[in-house]
Symmetry: C2
Subunit: 111 residues, 2 copies
C-alpha cells in the first residue's frame, strides 16, 4: 500500500484540470491576450475565463491590464508557472515517441 503525497496530489489536481495543459503550453510561448488564446485553443470563452481565474488564484498566471482603447489585457506566466515548463516538455516528448498519426483522430472513450 503506497501513500499519496498531498503536495503531489494538489499539483496533479491543478495541472490535470481540463484545458490547463493547453493554456500553459500557449503561455510558455510568451504572453497572450484573451482573444488570442480563444482563437488558438479549442476552448470556449466561458471555460477560458474560469481557468485563467483559477490559475491566477494559484499564482501560476498573471493578469496585466493596459488602459488603452480598447482596453488590452495580457496574461503571462509567473515564475511558478514557468516552473511547469519541464512538465509540458515531457508530455511533448512522450507524444512525439508514442502517439502515432493514426490514433490522433480517435476519440478517447473507455467503453
Amino acid at each position: 500500500m503506497s501513500e499519496l503525497c498531498p503536495r503531489f496530489e494538489k499539483a496533479m489536481e491543478i495541472v490535470s484540470k481540463r484545458w490547463v495543459g493547453l493554456i500553459l503550453s500557449e503561455l510558455l510561448n510568451g504572453k497572450k491576450r484573451f482573444s488570442e488564446m480563444e482563437t488558438d485553443l479549442p476552448i470556449s470563452g466561458r471555460l477560458l475565463s474560469d481557468r485563467l481565474k483559477m490559475l491566477e488564484k494559484e499564482g501560476i498566471v498573471e493578469r496585466n491590464i493596459y488602459s488603452e482603447f480598447p482596453v488590452r489585457i495580457e496574461y503571462s506566466l509567473t515564475e511558478k508557472g514557468e516552473g511547469l515548463k519541464p512538465v509540458i516538455n515531457e508530455i511533448q516528448n512522450w507524444s512525439d515517441v508514442w502517439i502515432t498519426p493514426e490514433e490522433v483522430q480517435d476519440q478517447i472513450t473507455e467503453k
Copy 2:
C-alpha cells in the same frame, strides 16, 4: 498565433483526464490490483474501472488475469505507460518546489 500539435493535444487529453495522473503514479511503483488502487487512491470503483479500460485501450496499461481462488487481476504499465514516468516525475518536482503545505488544504476553485 501558434499552432497546436495534434499529437501533443491527444497526449494532453489522455494524461490530463481526471485521476489518470494518480493511477499512473500508483502503477509506476509496480503492478497493482483493482482493490489496492481503490484503497490507495481517492477514486471510486466506477471511475477506476472506466479509467483502466481507457488506459488499456490506449495501450498504456496491461490487464493480467490469474485464475485462482478468488480470481486475481493485476494491472501494470506497458512500455508506452512507463514512458510517462518523466512526466509524473516532473510534476512531483514542481510540487516539491512550488506547493506549500498551507495551500495543500485549499480547494481549487475559479471564483
